[in-house]
Symmetry: D2
Subunit: 362 residues, 4 copies
């Protein structure tokens, strides 16, 4: 059975014939896998934390996948379309016992295709039913987005929990008076901006360039305001005021962060999702006094779990109706797994205009 594998620290991918020996649970035929920035970092040897499954000299790549169940389970039936949860718990800490390895205390979790566990870029694999989330047929075309979206459903749930520290709802009970800025227009930035619209906030999104025509269509469809931040954020603040939430989704140089802190409103929150890849964030004591005096919170946000995958499925379904233009533009390219050269290239570098590329397996 064909699988795409990596052998870090060696760069690049290989197609191998791979059959897991100790498959338990239910067989799942992979239908599609998505490609994400993390995959490329692993392939390009830039992700130091990637680690092989115990006892293996290689790792099957891929953590965004949908597949078709091949045998009846207890509550899942043969033929059901499913998505696997990609991070699995350490089995010991209270977070993992409560189904929340996103908050694993020991660091002993594994992640499919990333850390200590084979991923999903292969034709068939076995999984336990409890890790499989049902995919509604009506969102089949965009369902690979549910994995990254699950991370953001979790992130926003966490941000809301953090903001429960104060009277955060508006006088009409909604979040309509709150304003968010999403930094970065990659798949994470786009999904986050749509998600914040669904939460009812006013949403701005920024990148250091003008938006592409497709991006602009997406933002128009969901009443999201685009801002070109190549000259910094002061023009934005001068025109639209400070933000209740700034969500960093670009992974840009760390030196940008003090600027972002500087446009946050009293009691606001700076959510950090992107991994900064370089640089230093240098905050003056005045910046920090401001953070204290204005009750600002900064929160590191990572990984979604089963309930967040379920929310993501509901969300994508709603978006197909609410943001029909935006959802139709999310998948920018579909490759068959047999197109090996194209797959290899797609796993190495991002093409201009790309939002999500997916690989078809069956």
């Amino acid at each position: 059975m064909q699988a795409i594998v990596v052998s870090p620290p060696k760069k690049g991918i290989e197609y191998v014939d791979f059959q897991e020996e100790d498959g338990t649970g239910i067989p799942v035929r992979i239908r599609e896998t998505g490609i994400c920035g993390t995959d490329r970092e692993i392939v390009n040897g830039q992700m130091a934390s990637a680690s092989l499954p115990r006892g293996s000299s290689f790792m099957v790549l891929g953590h965004e996948a949908i597949g078709v169940v091949q045998e009846d389970g207890e509550s899942i039936r043969k033929g059901d379309l499913v998505m696997p949860v990609n991070r699995r718990g350490c089995g010991h800490c209270l977070a993992c016992l409560n189904g929340r390895p996103d908050f694993c205390e020991t660091g002993g979790f594994v992640e499919a295709g990333i850390k200590g566990m084979h991923g999903f870029m292969r034709e068939t694999y076995w999984d336990e039913e409890r890790y499989l989330v049902r995919v509604p047929r009506g969102i089949e075309d965009i369902a690979v987005m549910a994995q990254p979206l699950s991370d953001l459903e979790k992130s926003m749930e966490e941000v809301m929990q953090v903001q429960n520290r104060l009277p955060w709802k508006c006088p009409d009970g909604s979040l309509g008076c709150r304003k968010a800025l999403v930094v970065g227009t990659g798949p994470i930035g786009i999904l986050t901006s749509l998600l914040l619209r669904s939460y009812g906030l006013g949403v701005f999104i920024s990148n250091v360039r003008e938006p592409s025509r497709e991006e602009q269509k997406i933002f128009d469809d969901a009443d999201i305001t685009y801002y070109n931040s190549s000259s910094g954020y002061s023009a934005l603040r001068d025109k639209h005021g400070e933000f209740d939430l700034v969500f960093e989704a670009s992974g840009a140089d760390a030196s940008m962060l003090p600027q972002l802190l500087g446009i946050i409103k009293n009691n606001g929150v700076l959510g950090l999702f992107g991994f900064p890849r370089s640089g230093y964030a240098s905050f003056s004591h005045t910046d920090l006094q401001n953070l204290v005096y204005r009750s600002i919170a900064v929160v590191g946000l990572i990984n979604g779990q089963k309930p967040h995958f379920q929310s993501a499925m509901n969300r994508l379904a709603a978006w197909k109706v609410m943001f029909p233009v935006a959802t139709s533009l999310l998948i920018t390219r579909v490759l068959d797994h047999t197109e090996r050269d194209s797959v290899r290239e797609a796993l190495t570098s991002k093409t201009p205009g790309e939002i999500k590329v997916k690989i078809r397996w069956s």
Copy 2:
């Protein structure tokens, strides 16, 4: 301008030419209004708490409506499809100041078409922008359901809050191990059962008869198990065990409640949404010891506010994709407001097989 009015305690409706003199805010042209059980109670003189707008000898009926905005507002634009929030606050208590007149402490709130405020069964009316919720175009056909659904969004938010008193999430972080029974198959029962499926619970629904073919189609579409409770609930409990949540949506005779309490699991909750219309609920001291010993909660659930209308819009959008059969069966009849005899009849009695009847105004 035509309006349907009532003059309780006089029974019946009248069509009158009515123009509010002191309209402020934004003009809204009504497109459709839904008919609900409360309307019929008012029309039939059974609702003692219905009360006229101050200084008026009659009241325009109707609290479920969608309409088209006729002038630009601040964040709402001419041509937008909107739904008005039907209950408005007393202006004094902290709940109302926080946009939550569903928990009005003074009882001084008003409700369109029910208590102290003209309703929406008329061609045009004026409203303040803050009471208008945008309706996505993609759910236009079923959007009148968003008003009753808003009540249920609020109810389920409240139930979840109540259950936060304990570790209520399942070992996988979801609500997949929790099981709910919805009592009653009217519009409220059906919407609640769909909503609980969206929350991820296993859902049963009951009535004292076999389901109609259309009802069965709805339940099949959303994996909801129907139970005929004409012989009580013991057969259900024997087969499927006790329930984490029982939601009373039938408004049946009060004598049914001890039975419902008897099938609730440790730490479970009995949500009362329907108004029992007759009878007594007699609990023995053993029933009550059981309630204490097993940490059971009983909660009265009523009215949704702006955030719940917004959730309802998102929910209906998701359901169009996730439950396409169910959503296509919700509207069972559409009348034009000019069909006065049919409207009059529809406002007096429910027809067999009816789920939601709506009146078209423009």
Copy 3:
């Protein structure tokens, strides 16, 4: 080693020489045990749910105890004064894995001296460190009250959680505008009324008679208003209005409950802690409509766990300073375990004026 044991369904107690064979953990020399109504029910054969430890033909009585640690543990040291947590989890359900057997889902928990586990009315016993809560030396005299108080700390935490469903804090951020009625003036009623004062609510307490001189001193010390409810509650409501919280702590005939529901304010909560011993609570459909229309909650409240024992210790310490008169009147009698006839009598019936009787062991 002397122990007081029961052998239900046989009535009465026996003093036996008892040494647990499989003692593990840390040895604890019992200093004092409290006597509570549950002990008397077991001794008098009225508690059907009392059950013997597995494999034993009798059970050591007692669930309220303080003792002195005899050997160093990990964080507890020889000589420390401690109180054991009396209910221990089933080991399986998520509530128990989270340290919350008060919400045990399986019912498989055990309770010292009550259900499936030997109690603390003995000279020495062994326990695991995790079940021992440190007692500050400054509250040694009243520390046996911490066990019943732990149940109430848990109950009030739960009530607060339930009320989080609405804007429940007052306009000044406190609970000073909220008003509670505690029904019953036994130890539970008295502790609850003090606890509600510490939470900042206005507090009323009722019984069907005039208060004793000692009771009145306690209530005066903590600004608690006493009400003689022998003629019902309407005079109370007429004078002081409705209540945000009614806490049933009397275990009186169930027929009283509809009256209590009738004096609860919009959005209020009826907490049931006492086990009604007889009768029926018959609610009319109008009572129930009222419950729905006014968003009232009824909650069964039982058992506190380790965090609640810790809160109880802090609370008793604060009360020694804040309510010095009240705390000095809580212990009404101290018996030595060698005064067998007096102990036997105290374990059979309550004496007039009694609040808490304790037995000294060392």
Copy 4:
């Protein structure tokens, strides 16, 4: 009537005869005022944000005070000992309408003796009853500590709310497995370390020197471990592991913060209470990746409101019993307001060994 006033930006204090013209509410005779670092900053002209009451050319100093009520109010009686809440709301934003000007959104709040409102260093003043919190007689000697403690009660409530984003309670339901480091041994550091002990955490406290004999007695009384951080924190981490909570209470140079972030455990939180007075905090991209990857939160913590003053009163009462040695050492000096030279000096600089200095007014 004598009052101590400042006239920033002019340095120093003056004693003046001052009578507020428009006193409304209830007259309060000041008994004692505490001196805090903020007072000294204002006196020494270092606090740029200090601002005069509208229309006044000076400001009465002082925000920590207890006094005796001179006339009956609604729920407060003549002779009651009270403490005024020092920050008052803007009157407009939802936080302030909910009694939470600690989260004022407009910045339009005033603060007695600091920003736009006369303080309490005077013989008598008038106040509205809603801003007065009753002081139990039993804590009269240390009650001025309740104002700074209220800030910390609020801070810890906020930290707990932030940590509700994850399963933060230990397997026994307590916080006993959590470990906190408090940085700084001023009054704020000491009160915070005692407070965290009351919450049940393991507590460490650090300063860049050895503790004084008195400090060591305080820490011993409450099982707090002192750490001399003059050589950094790595020795602490090597011996005791990482911390779930680091609370910055020193206001030291900002360059210390990256070190503190470096000793925080997965899912931990860095609470910033002290205002850094100098320097830059420079975080590398690796530091920030770590924050994201490990779900760390950083939160600015400031000001307590009425409910936190009430908690602080309960807390001080409990501490008198639980930490009798520690509480007896908190007040290091009492000056009479007529000792003008000593008061002037005490308001200019901190003396070695000082914890809290208070001025007696009546």
